[in-house]
Protein backbone atom coordinates (compact mmCIF):
# COMPACT_ATOMS: atom_id res chain seq x y z
CA UNK A 1 0.00 0.00 0.00
CA UNK A 2 1.03 3.53 -0.58
CA UNK A 3 0.92 4.33 3.21
CA UNK A 4 3.58 1.70 3.80
CA UNK A 5 5.69 3.09 1.08
CA UNK A 6 5.44 6.62 2.41
CA UNK A 7 7.04 5.45 5.63
CA UNK A 8 4.51 7.12 7.98
CA UNK A 9 2.75 5.03 10.65
CA UNK A 10 -0.92 4.05 10.21
CA UNK A 11 -2.36 5.48 13.44
CA UNK A 12 -6.03 5.13 14.26
CA UNK A 13 -8.47 6.81 11.90
CA UNK A 14 -11.50 8.45 13.59
CA UNK A 15 -14.39 6.00 13.32
CA UNK A 16 -17.91 7.27 12.73
CA UNK A 17 -19.56 5.73 15.79
CA UNK A 18 -16.76 6.96 18.08
CA UNK A 19 -17.05 10.51 16.82
CA UNK A 20 -20.85 10.42 17.03
CA UNK A 21 -20.78 9.02 20.56
CA UNK A 22 -18.23 11.57 21.71
CA UNK A 23 -20.17 14.48 20.14
CA UNK A 24 -23.39 13.31 21.82
CA UNK A 25 -21.67 12.93 25.19
CA UNK A 26 -20.21 16.42 25.03
CA UNK A 27 -23.55 17.94 24.02
CA UNK A 28 -25.62 16.09 26.62
CA UNK A 29 -22.97 16.46 29.33
CA UNK A 30 -22.54 20.22 28.93
CA UNK A 31 -26.28 20.74 28.68
CA UNK A 32 -26.83 18.73 31.87
CA UNK A 33 -24.25 20.76 33.79
CA UNK A 34 -25.76 24.05 32.55
CA UNK A 35 -29.33 23.08 33.40
CA UNK A 36 -28.31 21.69 36.80
CA UNK A 37 -26.61 24.96 37.74
CA UNK A 38 -29.57 27.04 36.57
CA UNK A 39 -31.86 24.88 38.68
CA UNK A 40 -29.58 25.27 41.70
CA UNK A 41 -29.84 29.07 41.47
CA UNK A 42 -33.61 28.99 41.07
CA UNK A 43 -33.91 26.52 43.97
CA UNK A 44 -31.94 28.88 46.22
CA UNK A 45 -34.46 31.64 45.65
CA UNK A 46 -37.40 29.22 45.66
CA UNK A 47 -36.34 27.77 49.01
CA UNK A 48 -36.42 31.21 50.64
CA UNK A 49 -39.94 31.73 49.35
CA UNK A 50 -41.02 28.23 50.38
CA UNK A 51 -39.63 28.72 53.87
CA UNK A 52 -41.75 31.81 54.39
CA UNK A 53 -44.99 30.15 53.39
CA UNK A 54 -44.35 26.73 54.93
CA UNK A 55 -45.65 27.81 58.34
CA UNK A 56 -48.85 29.37 57.12
CA UNK A 57 -51.12 28.54 54.23
CA UNK A 58 -50.27 29.95 50.79
CA UNK A 59 -52.99 32.56 51.09
CA UNK A 60 -50.91 34.13 53.86
CA UNK A 61 -48.60 35.47 51.20
CA UNK A 62 -51.37 37.84 50.20
CA UNK A 63 -53.28 38.53 53.42
CA UNK A 64 -50.37 38.48 55.82
CA UNK A 65 -47.37 39.16 53.58
CA UNK A 66 -44.13 38.84 55.62
CA UNK A 67 -42.30 41.20 53.27
CA UNK A 68 -44.96 43.86 53.70
CA UNK A 69 -44.74 43.35 57.45
CA UNK A 70 -40.97 43.73 57.37
CA UNK A 71 -41.29 46.91 55.34
CA UNK A 72 -43.40 48.39 58.12
CA UNK A 73 -40.43 48.28 60.49
CA UNK A 74 -38.57 51.56 60.48
CA UNK A 75 -35.08 50.04 60.90
CA UNK A 76 -35.62 47.77 57.90
CA UNK A 77 -36.73 50.72 55.80
CA UNK A 78 -33.67 52.61 57.01
CA UNK A 79 -31.30 49.80 56.10
CA UNK A 80 -32.90 49.46 52.64
CA UNK A 81 -32.43 53.15 52.06
CA UNK A 82 -28.85 53.17 53.34
CA UNK A 83 -28.03 50.08 51.24
CA UNK A 84 -29.43 51.64 48.07
CA UNK A 85 -27.69 54.98 48.58
CA UNK A 86 -24.33 53.60 49.71
CA UNK A 87 -24.18 50.91 47.01
CA UNK A 88 -25.06 53.38 44.27
CA UNK A 89 -22.52 55.93 45.49
CA UNK A 90 -19.82 53.26 45.95
CA UNK A 91 -20.47 51.87 42.47
CA UNK A 92 -20.11 55.31 40.86
CA UNK A 93 -16.92 56.00 42.83
CA UNK A 94 -15.57 52.56 41.92
CA UNK A 95 -16.16 53.14 38.20
CA UNK A 96 -14.72 56.65 38.38
CA UNK A 97 -11.49 55.21 39.80
CA UNK A 98 -11.45 51.99 37.75
CA UNK A 99 -11.78 53.62 34.33
CA UNK A 100 -8.61 55.80 34.52
CA UNK A 101 -6.58 53.00 36.12
CA UNK A 102 -7.61 50.41 33.52
CA UNK A 103 -7.10 52.96 30.74
CA UNK A 104 -3.52 53.89 31.64
CA UNK A 105 -2.65 50.21 32.14
CA UNK A 106 -3.94 49.22 28.71
CA UNK A 107 -1.26 47.57 26.61
CA UNK A 108 1.49 48.86 28.88
CA UNK A 109 4.48 46.73 29.64
CA UNK A 110 6.88 48.09 32.21
CA UNK A 111 9.03 46.56 34.91
CA UNK A 112 6.74 45.89 37.85
CA UNK A 113 3.55 45.61 35.79
CA UNK A 114 2.87 42.18 37.33
CA UNK A 115 3.37 43.68 40.78
CA UNK A 116 0.93 46.52 40.06
CA UNK A 117 -1.64 44.01 38.79
CA UNK A 118 -1.21 41.92 41.93
CA UNK A 119 -1.60 44.94 44.22
CA UNK A 120 -4.83 45.88 42.42
CA UNK A 121 -6.12 42.34 43.04
CA UNK A 122 -5.41 42.42 46.78
CA UNK A 123 -8.94 43.54 47.79
CA UNK A 124 -10.35 40.64 45.76
CA UNK A 125 -8.24 37.95 47.37
CA UNK A 126 -8.05 39.27 50.95
CA UNK A 127 -10.54 37.80 53.41
CA UNK A 128 -13.25 40.46 53.93
CA UNK A 129 -12.74 40.63 57.70
CA UNK A 130 -9.07 41.38 57.14
CA UNK A 131 -9.97 44.28 54.85
CA UNK A 132 -12.26 45.69 57.53
CA UNK A 133 -9.61 45.29 60.20
CA UNK A 134 -6.96 46.86 57.96
CA UNK A 135 -9.20 49.85 57.29
CA UNK A 136 -9.84 50.23 61.01
CA UNK A 137 -6.11 50.13 61.75
CA UNK A 138 -5.27 52.50 58.90
CA UNK A 139 -7.63 55.10 60.33
CA UNK A 140 -5.70 55.00 63.62
CA UNK A 141 -2.77 56.67 61.88
CA UNK A 142 -2.22 60.23 60.67
CA UNK A 143 -3.53 61.96 58.61
CA UNK A 144 -6.80 60.38 59.71
CA UNK A 145 -6.19 61.25 63.35
CA UNK A 146 -5.27 64.89 62.74
CA UNK A 147 -7.76 67.64 63.36
CA UNK A 148 -9.56 68.82 60.25
CA UNK A 149 -11.69 71.42 62.00
CA UNK A 150 -9.78 74.34 60.57
CA UNK A 151 -10.58 73.31 56.99
CA UNK A 152 -14.29 72.87 57.57
CA UNK A 153 -16.72 75.73 58.13
CA UNK A 154 -19.42 75.50 60.82
CA UNK A 155 -17.49 72.99 62.93
CA UNK A 156 -17.42 73.67 66.64
CA UNK A 157 -15.38 70.70 67.79
CA UNK A 158 -11.69 71.61 67.39
CA UNK A 159 -10.69 67.96 67.76
CA UNK A 160 -12.74 66.68 64.83
CA UNK A 161 -10.71 64.15 62.84
CA UNK A 162 -11.33 62.09 59.73
CA UNK A 163 -11.26 59.08 62.01
CA UNK A 164 -14.18 60.41 64.06
CA UNK A 165 -16.03 61.39 60.91
CA UNK A 166 -15.68 58.00 59.23
CA UNK A 167 -15.11 55.07 61.57
CA UNK A 168 -18.39 53.57 62.87
CA UNK A 169 -20.22 56.25 60.89
CA UNK A 170 -22.07 56.15 57.57
CA UNK A 171 -18.96 57.14 55.53
CA UNK A 172 -17.29 53.94 56.77
CA UNK A 173 -19.98 51.96 54.96
CA UNK A 174 -19.10 53.67 51.70
CA UNK A 175 -15.32 53.50 52.22
CA UNK A 176 -15.51 49.76 52.94
CA UNK A 177 -17.81 49.04 49.98
CA UNK A 178 -15.72 51.23 47.67
CA UNK A 179 -12.45 49.50 48.63
CA UNK A 180 -13.64 46.08 47.53
CA UNK A 181 -15.98 47.09 44.70
CA UNK A 182 -13.26 49.12 42.97
CA UNK A 183 -11.01 46.07 42.64
CA UNK A 184 -13.80 44.23 40.83
CA UNK A 185 -14.58 47.24 38.65
CA UNK A 186 -10.89 47.51 37.71
CA UNK A 187 -10.75 43.83 36.73
CA UNK A 188 -13.81 44.30 34.50
CA UNK A 189 -12.54 47.52 32.95
CA UNK A 190 -9.08 46.06 32.28
CA UNK A 191 -10.68 43.21 30.32
CA UNK A 192 -12.87 45.73 28.47
CA UNK A 193 -10.04 48.07 27.52
CA UNK A 194 -7.90 45.18 26.27
CA UNK A 195 -10.61 44.53 23.65
CA UNK A 196 -10.77 48.10 22.37
CA UNK A 197 -9.00 49.26 19.25
CA UNK A 198 -6.25 51.80 20.02
CA UNK A 199 -6.11 52.70 16.36
CA UNK A 200 -9.49 54.42 16.65
CA UNK A 201 -8.06 56.67 19.32
CA UNK A 202 -5.00 57.39 17.17
CA UNK A 203 -7.18 58.25 14.18
CA UNK A 204 -9.20 60.60 16.40
CA UNK A 205 -5.95 62.36 17.39
CA UNK A 206 -5.04 62.93 13.74
CA UNK A 207 -8.54 64.26 13.07
CA UNK A 208 -7.96 67.04 15.58
CA UNK A 209 -8.77 65.60 19.01
CA UNK A 210 -6.69 66.38 22.04
CA UNK A 211 -6.20 63.47 24.45
CA UNK A 212 -9.28 64.35 26.51
CA UNK A 213 -11.50 64.65 23.43
CA UNK A 214 -10.19 61.37 22.02
CA UNK A 215 -10.93 59.74 25.36
CA UNK A 216 -14.44 61.12 25.74
CA UNK A 217 -15.52 60.92 22.08
CA UNK A 218 -13.87 57.70 20.95
CA UNK A 219 -12.65 55.62 23.88
CA UNK A 220 -15.64 56.00 26.22
CA UNK A 221 -18.29 55.07 23.61
CA UNK A 222 -16.32 51.90 22.90
CA UNK A 223 -16.18 50.85 26.55
CA UNK A 224 -19.69 52.01 27.54
CA UNK A 225 -21.06 48.45 27.81
CA UNK A 226 -18.07 47.48 29.97
CA UNK A 227 -18.64 50.49 32.22
CA UNK A 228 -22.24 49.43 32.77
CA UNK A 229 -21.11 45.88 33.58
CA UNK A 230 -18.44 47.20 35.96
CA UNK A 231 -20.99 49.46 37.65
CA UNK A 232 -23.44 46.59 38.10
CA UNK A 233 -20.74 44.31 39.47
CA UNK A 234 -19.50 47.01 41.85
CA UNK A 235 -23.07 47.67 43.00
CA UNK A 236 -23.73 43.98 43.63
CA UNK A 237 -20.44 43.55 45.51
CA UNK A 238 -21.33 46.55 47.65
CA UNK A 239 -24.77 45.16 48.44
CA UNK A 240 -23.20 41.88 49.58
CA UNK A 241 -20.40 43.59 51.52
CA UNK A 242 -20.56 42.43 55.10
CA UNK A 243 -17.28 41.44 56.77
CA UNK A 244 -15.52 44.80 56.46
CA UNK A 245 -18.68 46.65 57.52
CA UNK A 246 -18.94 44.58 60.68
CA UNK A 247 -15.45 45.64 61.76
CA UNK A 248 -15.12 49.11 60.25
CA UNK A 249 -18.64 50.57 60.30
CA UNK A 250 -20.29 48.58 63.06
CA UNK A 251 -23.91 47.43 62.96
CA UNK A 252 -25.77 50.16 64.75
CA UNK A 253 -29.47 50.10 63.96
CA UNK A 254 -30.76 53.22 62.22
CA UNK A 255 -27.18 54.35 61.68
CA UNK A 256 -24.75 52.02 59.89
CA UNK A 257 -27.00 49.03 59.40
CA UNK A 258 -27.34 47.91 55.79
CA UNK A 259 -29.30 44.95 54.43
CA UNK A 260 -26.43 42.44 54.67
CA UNK A 261 -25.84 43.35 58.31
CA UNK A 262 -29.59 43.18 58.94
CA UNK A 263 -29.56 39.56 57.82
CA UNK A 264 -26.69 38.90 60.22
CA UNK A 265 -28.37 40.69 63.11
CA UNK A 266 -31.67 38.85 62.55
CA UNK A 267 -29.90 35.47 62.47
CA UNK A 268 -27.88 36.32 65.58
CA UNK A 269 -31.06 37.00 67.58
CA UNK A 270 -32.62 33.79 66.25
CA UNK A 271 -35.13 35.44 63.92
CA UNK A 272 -34.58 33.22 60.92
CA UNK A 273 -37.81 34.32 59.28
CA UNK A 274 -36.79 37.96 59.53
CA UNK A 275 -33.43 37.10 57.96
CA UNK A 276 -35.16 35.28 55.09
CA UNK A 277 -37.52 38.20 54.49
CA UNK A 278 -34.62 40.67 54.29
CA UNK A 279 -32.76 38.24 52.03
CA UNK A 280 -35.73 38.17 49.68
CA UNK A 281 -35.80 41.97 49.64
CA UNK A 282 -32.10 41.91 48.67
CA UNK A 283 -32.82 39.40 45.91
CA UNK A 284 -35.62 41.57 44.55
CA UNK A 285 -33.45 44.70 44.60
CA UNK A 286 -30.54 42.89 42.93
CA UNK A 287 -32.74 41.52 40.17
CA UNK A 288 -34.25 44.97 39.68
CA UNK A 289 -30.83 46.62 39.33
CA UNK A 290 -29.60 43.83 37.06
CA UNK A 291 -32.61 44.17 34.75
CA UNK A 292 -32.43 47.96 34.68
CA UNK A 293 -28.73 48.02 33.81
CA UNK A 294 -29.17 45.30 31.19
CA UNK A 295 -31.97 47.20 29.49
CA UNK A 296 -30.08 50.46 29.79
CA UNK A 297 -26.95 48.78 28.37
CA UNK A 298 -28.93 47.46 25.40
CA UNK A 299 -30.29 50.92 24.70
CA UNK A 300 -26.80 52.42 24.86
CA UNK A 301 -25.52 49.84 22.41
CA UNK A 302 -28.28 50.35 19.88
CA UNK A 303 -27.75 54.11 19.76
Amino acid sequence: MSEHQSGWPHGKEPSLWRVTLSDRTIKVGFLTISVAYLILILLLVGADLAYLVSDSHWGGIFSDNPIAKALQQEEIRYSIMLSMLSCTLSAFLAVAVAVPIAYILKGKTFPGRALVDSILDIPIVLPPLVIGLSLLILFQFPPFTLSIAKWLPFVDDPNLTLNALVVYQIPAVIVAQFTVATAFAIATMKATFEQTDSRMEEVALTLGCNRLQAFSRVVLPQVAPGIITAWTLAWARSLGEFGPLLVFAGTTRNKTEVLSTTVFLEISIGNLEGAVVVSLIMILLSVLVLVVTRVWGKMELSL
Partner: protein, 214 residues
Protein backbone atom coordinates in the same frame (compact mmCIF):
# COMPACT_ATOMS: atom_id res chain seq x y z
CA UNK B 1 5.67 69.77 0.35
CA UNK B 2 6.22 66.77 2.61
CA UNK B 3 9.83 66.79 3.67
CA UNK B 4 11.26 64.08 5.91
CA UNK B 5 14.86 64.52 7.01
CA UNK B 6 16.85 61.67 8.56
CA UNK B 7 13.95 60.11 10.47
CA UNK B 8 15.02 57.57 13.06
CA UNK B 9 12.64 55.54 15.17
CA UNK B 10 13.46 52.91 17.71
CA UNK B 11 10.74 51.21 19.65
CA UNK B 12 11.38 47.94 21.42
CA UNK B 13 13.01 45.48 19.03
CA UNK B 14 11.97 47.54 16.08
CA UNK B 15 13.89 50.41 14.54
CA UNK B 16 14.71 52.12 11.30
CA UNK B 17 17.34 54.63 10.56
CA UNK B 18 17.87 57.72 8.56
CA UNK B 19 14.87 57.95 6.28
CA UNK B 20 14.77 61.02 4.08
CA UNK B 21 12.32 61.86 1.32
CA UNK B 22 10.69 64.88 -0.21
CA UNK B 23 7.36 65.07 -2.01
CA UNK B 24 6.73 68.35 -3.87
CA UNK B 25 3.54 70.28 -3.13
CA UNK B 26 0.54 68.83 -4.91
CA UNK B 27 2.32 65.63 -5.91
CA UNK B 28 1.32 62.04 -5.25
CA UNK B 29 4.22 60.22 -3.61
CA UNK B 30 4.21 56.44 -3.27
CA UNK B 31 6.50 54.69 -0.82
CA UNK B 32 7.09 51.02 -1.65
CA UNK B 33 8.39 48.31 0.58
CA UNK B 34 7.64 44.77 1.68
CA UNK B 35 5.16 44.05 4.48
CA UNK B 36 6.62 44.52 7.95
CA UNK B 37 9.49 46.76 6.94
CA UNK B 38 8.33 49.69 9.08
CA UNK B 39 6.31 51.70 6.58
CA UNK B 40 3.34 51.93 8.92
CA UNK B 41 5.52 53.06 11.81
CA UNK B 42 7.02 55.72 9.62
CA UNK B 43 3.58 57.05 8.62
CA UNK B 44 2.51 57.02 12.27
CA UNK B 45 5.63 59.01 13.14
CA UNK B 46 4.78 61.57 10.48
CA UNK B 47 1.26 61.84 11.96
CA UNK B 48 2.73 62.33 15.41
CA UNK B 49 1.53 59.02 16.81
CA UNK B 50 5.05 57.73 17.42
CA UNK B 51 8.04 59.48 18.91
CA UNK B 52 11.06 60.15 16.75
CA UNK B 53 14.51 59.32 18.06
CA UNK B 54 15.85 61.95 15.72
CA UNK B 55 15.09 63.69 12.44
CA UNK B 56 12.80 66.48 11.25
CA UNK B 57 9.37 66.45 9.63
CA UNK B 58 8.45 69.51 7.59
CA UNK B 59 5.02 70.00 6.08
CA UNK B 60 4.92 72.95 3.74
CA UNK B 61 6.89 75.67 5.46
CA UNK B 62 6.16 74.34 8.93
CA UNK B 63 8.35 72.10 11.07
CA UNK B 64 5.84 69.79 12.77
CA UNK B 65 8.34 67.41 14.40
CA UNK B 66 7.27 68.32 17.91
CA UNK B 67 3.59 69.11 17.36
CA UNK B 68 0.80 66.91 18.69
CA UNK B 69 -1.11 64.95 15.99
CA UNK B 70 -4.11 67.28 16.18
CA UNK B 71 -2.02 70.29 15.15
CA UNK B 72 -0.24 68.76 12.16
CA UNK B 73 -3.08 69.17 9.68
CA UNK B 74 -2.69 65.71 8.18
CA UNK B 75 -5.47 63.56 6.79
CA UNK B 76 -4.58 60.01 7.81
CA UNK B 77 -6.10 56.88 6.28
CA UNK B 78 -4.97 53.90 8.34
CA UNK B 79 -4.54 50.45 6.86
CA UNK B 80 -7.75 48.81 8.04
CA UNK B 81 -10.01 51.81 7.46
CA UNK B 82 -10.63 52.20 11.18
CA UNK B 83 -14.13 53.66 11.21
CA UNK B 84 -15.83 54.70 14.44
CA UNK B 85 -18.28 51.84 14.85
CA UNK B 86 -20.46 53.68 17.36
CA UNK B 87 -21.20 56.47 14.86
CA UNK B 88 -23.15 56.49 11.61
CA UNK B 89 -21.36 57.01 8.30
CA UNK B 90 -22.50 60.65 8.29
CA UNK B 91 -21.16 61.21 11.80
CA UNK B 92 -17.87 59.59 10.82
CA UNK B 93 -17.50 62.05 7.95
CA UNK B 94 -18.46 64.99 10.17
CA UNK B 95 -16.25 63.98 13.12
CA UNK B 96 -13.39 66.41 12.44
CA UNK B 97 -15.85 69.20 11.58
CA UNK B 98 -17.74 68.91 14.87
CA UNK B 99 -14.38 69.10 16.66
CA UNK B 100 -13.73 72.36 14.82
CA UNK B 101 -17.15 73.69 15.82
CA UNK B 102 -18.45 74.07 12.29
CA UNK B 103 -22.08 75.20 12.08
CA UNK B 104 -24.58 72.42 11.38
CA UNK B 105 -25.47 73.78 7.94
CA UNK B 106 -21.82 73.97 6.90
CA UNK B 107 -21.18 70.47 8.22
CA UNK B 108 -24.10 69.18 6.15
CA UNK B 109 -22.92 70.96 3.04
CA UNK B 110 -19.39 69.57 3.44
CA UNK B 111 -20.67 66.04 4.11
CA UNK B 112 -22.91 66.19 1.02
CA UNK B 113 -20.04 67.44 -1.10
CA UNK B 114 -17.61 64.76 0.12
CA UNK B 115 -20.13 61.96 -0.20
CA UNK B 116 -21.02 62.84 -3.78
CA UNK B 117 -17.34 63.12 -4.70
CA UNK B 118 -16.64 59.73 -3.10
CA UNK B 119 -19.93 58.21 -4.33
CA UNK B 120 -21.12 57.24 -0.87
CA UNK B 121 -24.24 59.42 -0.64
CA UNK B 122 -26.46 56.35 -0.38
CA UNK B 123 -24.55 55.14 2.72
CA UNK B 124 -24.74 58.31 4.80
CA UNK B 125 -27.40 57.23 7.27
CA UNK B 126 -26.19 53.69 7.75
CA UNK B 127 -24.12 52.34 10.58
CA UNK B 128 -20.64 51.14 9.70
CA UNK B 129 -21.65 47.50 10.06
CA UNK B 130 -21.85 45.38 6.92
CA UNK B 131 -20.01 47.81 4.64
CA UNK B 132 -17.72 46.38 1.98
CA UNK B 133 -13.97 46.95 2.08
CA UNK B 134 -14.19 49.50 -0.73
CA UNK B 135 -17.01 51.40 0.94
CA UNK B 136 -15.10 51.53 4.21
CA UNK B 137 -12.05 52.95 2.46
CA UNK B 138 -14.11 55.64 0.71
CA UNK B 139 -15.63 56.70 4.02
CA UNK B 140 -12.25 56.69 5.77
CA UNK B 141 -10.86 58.82 2.97
CA UNK B 142 -13.77 61.24 3.27
CA UNK B 143 -13.39 61.45 7.03
CA UNK B 144 -9.68 62.24 6.76
CA UNK B 145 -10.21 64.92 4.09
CA UNK B 146 -13.28 66.59 5.61
CA UNK B 147 -11.38 69.31 7.44
CA UNK B 148 -9.44 70.17 4.28
CA UNK B 149 -5.95 69.14 5.31
CA UNK B 150 -3.21 69.92 2.80
CA UNK B 151 -1.47 66.62 3.41
CA UNK B 152 -2.81 63.11 3.04
CA UNK B 153 -1.13 59.97 4.34
CA UNK B 154 -2.46 56.62 3.14
CA UNK B 155 -1.39 53.30 4.63
CA UNK B 156 -2.06 50.43 2.19
CA UNK B 157 -5.50 51.88 1.43
CA UNK B 158 -6.34 49.26 -1.18
CA UNK B 159 -5.14 46.12 0.59
CA UNK B 160 -8.53 45.34 2.15
CA UNK B 161 -10.44 45.62 -1.12
CA UNK B 162 -11.02 43.01 -3.79
CA UNK B 163 -9.57 43.13 -7.27
CA UNK B 164 -12.72 44.44 -8.94
CA UNK B 165 -13.08 47.54 -6.74
CA UNK B 166 -9.37 48.28 -6.56
CA UNK B 167 -9.11 49.81 -9.98
CA UNK B 168 -12.06 52.14 -9.35
CA UNK B 169 -10.60 53.20 -6.01
CA UNK B 170 -7.25 53.91 -7.64
CA UNK B 171 -8.90 56.30 -10.08
CA UNK B 172 -10.87 57.86 -7.24
CA UNK B 173 -7.75 58.41 -5.09
CA UNK B 174 -6.00 60.15 -7.94
CA UNK B 175 -9.07 62.24 -8.76
CA UNK B 176 -9.62 63.31 -5.15
CA UNK B 177 -5.95 64.14 -4.66
CA UNK B 178 -5.93 66.33 -7.74
CA UNK B 179 -9.26 68.03 -7.13
CA UNK B 180 -8.38 68.89 -3.55
CA UNK B 181 -4.79 69.70 -4.38
CA UNK B 182 -3.40 67.76 -1.45
CA UNK B 183 0.14 66.46 -1.20
CA UNK B 184 -0.14 62.71 -0.71
CA UNK B 185 2.13 60.03 0.69
CA UNK B 186 0.79 56.58 -0.11
CA UNK B 187 2.43 53.48 1.28
CA UNK B 188 2.03 50.13 -0.50
CA UNK B 189 3.74 46.90 -1.45
CA UNK B 190 2.02 46.77 -4.86
CA UNK B 191 4.11 47.89 -7.86
CA UNK B 192 0.98 48.24 -10.02
CA UNK B 193 -0.62 50.69 -7.57
CA UNK B 194 2.60 52.69 -7.48
CA UNK B 195 2.85 52.75 -11.27
CA UNK B 196 -0.72 53.90 -11.58
CA UNK B 197 -0.84 56.61 -8.93
CA UNK B 198 2.60 57.98 -8.33
CA UNK B 199 4.20 61.20 -9.42
CA UNK B 200 7.16 60.19 -7.29
CA UNK B 201 8.08 56.67 -6.20
CA UNK B 202 10.34 55.83 -3.28
CA UNK B 203 11.65 52.44 -2.30
CA UNK B 204 11.75 51.98 1.44
CA UNK B 205 14.88 49.88 1.36
CA UNK B 206 17.13 52.26 -0.48
CA UNK B 207 14.93 55.35 -0.35
CA UNK B 208 16.15 56.76 -3.55
CA UNK B 209 13.71 58.22 -5.96
CA UNK B 210 13.30 55.79 -8.86
CA UNK B 211 10.67 57.61 -10.81
CA UNK B 212 9.39 61.10 -11.05
CA UNK B 213 10.04 64.70 -11.63
CA UNK B 214 12.73 65.20 -9.00
Amino acid sequence: MIDLQNLCISQGDFSFQDISLTIPTGSYGVLMGPTGCGKTSMLEAVCGLRDLSSGRIRLGEKDVSNLPPACRGIGYVPQDGTLFGFLSVRENLAFALHLRRWKAAEVNRRVEELSSLLEISHLLDRTTKGLSGGERQRITLGRSLAFQPQFLLLDEPLSATDESTRSGLCDLLKKVQQEMGVTALHVTHSPSEAERLADVIFNFNNLSSIKGSM
